[in-house]
Amino acid sequence: MSTATPVEEDEGTRIARQRFSEGKRAERRLGLMLVSPAVILMILVTAYPIAYAIWLSLFRADMRTPDQNEFVGLENYVTVLSSSIWWKAFGFTLLLTVVSVVLELILGMLLAIVMHRTIVGRGLVRTSALVPYAIVTVVAAFSWRFAWSQGMGWLAGDSAPLTGEWSSFWIIVLAEVWKTIPFMALLLMAGLALVPEDLLKAASIDGATAWQRFWKITVPLIKPSILVAVLFRTLDAFRIFDNIYVLTGGANETSSVSIVAYNNLIKGLNLGIGSTMSVLIFVTIAIIAFIFVKLFGAAAPGSDEGRR
């Protein structure tokens, strides 16, 4: 907005500017007032439980031995972080997250392109692609479980894949991927809609192949969508519970961190240890989100230009 010749500020401009900033302030106040109910609600339903979980994690709080409950400081964290059960579950969850998110991204991208490029029956294709996402996870998980049950399921035959560690792992991945591809595809499709058709046509005239057009034009342009989709899915996948709960119940070393936390909180009634695990899951997720947001910030359009 800077002009070549600085203009002397007269009274009128000053007042106008003041009014303008006053208006802005009032607007901000109104904005704060309007969001405050939501903020208060969020504090009640989110901040309070989180704070309470952190508080509980500092106590020996076992409902089975209520007389022995006491403040133990960080002892619960030492217990959990030195437990092989926790790290085993952590490793399993991490592996599951990486494998399923990668597969979801690839397949989700394919589905997004199909949905984007469909000319005939567009509505039908898009709606039917969303069906897995619309089914309640537990219901879908039960279908998978029965399908993979020995002697009963159409996929299992005589084998019992849900009793082995790696076969269980791949079935969980399958259930998870099948379920969330539509979510991935939907977010990516929103990104695809922003890619200007002219750009692709121009590249095509310049002799770029479809593969080159995809990697050099489409992917850079929809990078923000990809990152958001991957971030959401990573956070979700790391907290995986229902699929595992139904499919294996955590047997054959297939416990995720959420399953272990559930077992200690709900089955074991050990609120101290269980809360500690919940807090650790929360922290892990916060770290993942932080890394992604940093990545995302660096890749946002605009700053991207400067780096190159």
Partner: protein, 427 residues
Amino acid sequence: MARHGVLNRRTLGLAAAATLVASLAACGGGDEDVPTINLFGGASASGFDEIIADCNEEADGKYRIVGNLLPSDADGQREQLVRRLAAGDTGMDLLGMDVVWTAEFAEAGWILPLDEEQAAAASEDTLEVPLETATWKDKLYGIPKHTNAQLMWYRKSLVEKVGDGEPPETWDEMFEMAEELKSMGEPYEIGFTGARYEGLVVGFNTLLSSFGGTVVNEDSSETTIDDKTVQALELMQRLASSGLASRSLSNSQEPEVFAQLQNGASAFSLNWPYVLSAMREANPEIAEDLGFAKFPAAVEGEPSRVTVGGMNFAISAFSEHPDEAFEAAMCLRSPEHQLSHALKAGEPPVIVSVFDEPEFQEAYPQGDLLLESLETASSRPISPVYQNISTIISSTLSPPTGIDPERTAEELDEAITDAIEGKGILP
């Protein structure tokens, strides 16, 4: 005046309507003033609804038992009970509890101890070990409902080939016989529940008790792991590595152990009493050849001490009708009802005199032996953190071939001590 009259009439009308609604509501819920005793656990056993109906008739308006459904697996049942008890739910009165839950529920203050009179009534003519499972810190909390104990099943024709036809009395004898059968090319396997689950805990506890050992002391304040534990682990390791157990020992639960006997691989099978009636259906030929004897002893001359299973009734601390709940429980487990339950649902009684009933004897040829086994039986560790202890035992001992007696005993000691100190983690 007139306005007053109108108001009065209106109030009267309202009051009348309210009374009507209230009485209608009462009608919907059953008879007026009859306390409902909500039973959770054990209500879905075959034929149990008839027992409930019987008791309701007997109560004659004193109370009305309603049987409620729970998940079919023990973990699911416990989870639901625990969740509701932790929330102080008054909608549960009588709880059908697995024998290993007593200490946990009692310590948490969720179930009521029986008073002296009630305790006397509940212990009358009742087997000792089931009562032990219902006791925590010298107070009786549970009313034993049914019990169970493993026996040794064996193939008579095979045992005759390697001896005088008498089944082995000790583990050593059993190993010798199996070894001989193996060298003769006959079926020789010893069936044992070695998978990583509660059955492994039951098997280990039986061995440990037979050596005279325990896992925790009486008030579960410390572990009692010693050389007896090492001996029990040695025996289990010997079974696993002798080549005399099934190759799928580490995956064998009761159905697999049963199947190994059914398909002719096992010569000996350590399993629950249901085997006989189930085998008559599954493989009549084997059933003909089936003998049963006491679980083999670990130490010669000392009886084996098998681990009891079963269920106890307990009264929820949040029940609004604890006295009626006690009466209801006593009716549900009366000798007649235990007999019919044993016949219909196959769950052995806890009242000694029922074992003498001709009907029972007819249905349970192994009844006398079962009674004898139950009289020298043992209970699993009685502790508020039993869930942890059980998980620790089954995961530490699995697979049984990996047992290194001294080291495994140390591992158990450390992990169970942690659990007692509130540092246990459930996988």
